[in-house]
Symmetry: C2
Subunit: 137 residues, 2 copies
């Protein structure tokens, strides 16, 4: 018997509410997590470098997100006992195994931003004029 999901006989399936893989999906499906994994693809980076690279992130969000990723075994945190202090974050093997996917999501966003913006404008324009189609004839 397994404990990844809470009901008796089942399969690992993120569609299921109780399945632990759902929590993994939730951890990945986060803009900061996605950008952090992508940012760390080419090697370790310091906290301050990450903060500047992820434009707009607060120190608190960065710390929190990195902590969750460290707990999940996605990143490795290394403290160098120097003055001033120096902390580096790098992807673990596990983290590297998902980095391609996260890079893909980021790149897709950048490559299709024009189509999305166009779709949004068209939708908003239609929403002004026509009322939204409602079920029932």
């Amino acid at each position: 018997m397994d404990t990844k999901c809470d009901a008796g006989n089942w399969s690992v399936d993120a569609y299921l509410r109780g399945c632990a893989s759902r929590t993994v999906l939730e951890a990945l499906a986060n803009k900061w997590t996605c950008l952090l994994i992508d940012a760390l693809r080419h090697g370790p980076l310091r906290f301050g470098v990450l903060r500047r690279k992820l434009d707009g992130i607060t120190q608190k969000s960065l710390t929190q997100t990195l902590r969750v990723m460290e707990r999940d075994g996605i990143v490795i945190r290394t403290v160098y006992p120097t003055i001033p202090p120096r902390v580096e974050y790098e992807l673990s093997d596990l983290g590297r195994s998902v980095a391609g996917l996260m890079e893909g999501v980021k790149r897709w966003s950048e490559e299709h931003v024009d189509e999305i913006l166009t779709a949004r404008e068209a939708y908003d324009l239609r929403a002004q004029e026509e009322p939204r189609p409602v079920p029932v004839a």
Copy 2:
């Protein structure tokens, strides 16, 4: 001059706060969006089917998420004027172009759930015993 980001001369880069591709990334980096795109990979599905498939989603969240995806041109909503009403959602070409990525994220979550759970246990155990390493010798 372009309008995808708000500063003058720049590149499309989701790392930048003002860049429109950041909003696209935010739209994708959402557990329900990810699962919905994956669920619709093999063809149109009705609202009620989706609600049952995405275990734990509320009607409100499902409606909201689908609306955003429709606005972004990821899904197409079709109303059949029958009684009882019937509304189907399907991926657009744009949506299909990102479906592989979303399937990958879902599958990665399922395939690595064991490693993640083990990492979490180890982390939580360490957190009880050792105090967290702090910067500065």
